[in-house]
Amino acid sequence: MNFGEYLVDLAKIFVSSSIINNIVLIQFLGLCSYIGLSDSMSSSIGMSFAVIFVTVCSSILAWVIDHWILIPSNLQSVLQITSFILVIGSFVGLVQIYLRKTSPNLHKAMGIYLPLIATNCLILGVTFINSMNNYDLVQSIVEAIGASLGYAIALLLLVGIRERLRDSDVPTFFKGKAIAFMVSAIMALAFLGFQGMIR
């Protein structure tokens, strides 16, 4: 594969992970924070940045562990889950300690979302997707950026809609969480329209 084809391949991975196979609406990862958090715009923006940062860093870490330790020693099928979750958990913990020590402002903006992220299935899901598709390091990073951007898109769309919903007359049956799911269903329907964009 020459360099041009490789770039096209990267672009395909990016579009596919961010829009066509949107991680929240089509693959259903990270739903807990997506439904639970989406009531104010500013906190969702903070959460989106935290997710993008942690996803990219942890997919690099996971790739290194996968390709330098687990595959050479032939332990991938046995130790992959355990090592990935350990690495991501401790990475998030380290980032939190580092932010608290060095930049209190950033910690105030991002810090409260970091503990939520450690158990977010999105981040672990992206690392598993990378390893299932045998992506190399650059492809893994592109996939991670795309997937977490996709999460940000879906979250911000839902927040925008929910802010409007607050003033509108929702049927009593769907008051509360249910309407968020119905809105997501319609959004997923719209995202389904992108299917088949890449051959």
Binding site: F28, V78, I81, L86, C121, A178
Partner: protein
């Protein structure tokens, strides 16, 4: 014995993890588009839920309080690996369709939530029954949604043709949006029921 049955029943209906507490929804929405994958998912879930509850409950006196969450995660990760290997060995075809979600049992909120809220403070036998109840509570909701989606979307149940061939399947039901739709309707119905119950009191 009555007490144990109560624990199981409590997890199946009054505090059902999916319907009432509304956690662990990722896998419910993703896997419920066919009955076979719903059953495999429930099986894998039981392989993690029950043993991890037993192990955590039997070690509850030696797990230090500050380190409990990492230890819970390690125990759950070990059993998830076992569940993944078993599903891959015996149910390869279905496993290939839903392997991402079986791998992600390790971060399923229900399992770590029960470890924290129940197994860490209760004896072994009670934790075992709590694990059984949680599995049944998770499994029946998942399978019920899967039956409706597969019936309307393909006209089959677990691969067997049920509706007559003239039935025009609504393909939307096995596509992602219907997962959100079904969960939305279910949660709406449950919350509505609870609101009415509150009103009567």
């Amino acid at each position: 014995m009555k007490r144990y049955l109560n624990i199981v029943w409590d997890a199946i209906v009054p505090s059902n993890p999916v319907l009432i507490i509304a956690i662990g929804l990722c896998s419910v929405i993703a896997v419920s588009n066919s009955v076979q994958s719903a059953l495999l998912m429930t099986f894998a879930f039981s392989l993690v839920m029950i043993p991890s509850n037993i192990i955590i409950s039997s070690m509850r006196r030696i797990i230090p309080e500050e380190l409990r969450v990492p230890i819970f995660v390690m125990v759950i990760a070990a059993f998830t690996t076992i569940a993944v290997l078993i599903s891959r060995a015996y149910f390869t075809a279905i496993y290939d369709l839903i392997k991402l979600y079986i791998l992600l049992i390790v971060v399923n909120c229900i399992i770590i939530g029960r470890a924290e809220a129940f197994a860490y403070s209760h004896p072994v036998l009670e934790s075992f029954f709590d694990g059984v109840g949680m599995t049944l509570g998770y499994g029946w909701v998942l399978t019920a949604i899967a039956v409706v989606r597969e019936l309307l979307g393909k006209g089959t149940i677990a691969g067997f043709q049920v509706l007559p061939a003239t039935f025009q399947p609504a393909i939307i039901m096995i596509l992602p949006p219907a997962g959100f739709l079904m969960i939305g309707i279910l949660i709406g119905a449950v919350e509505n029921y609870l609101r009415k119950k509150e009103g009567k009191k």
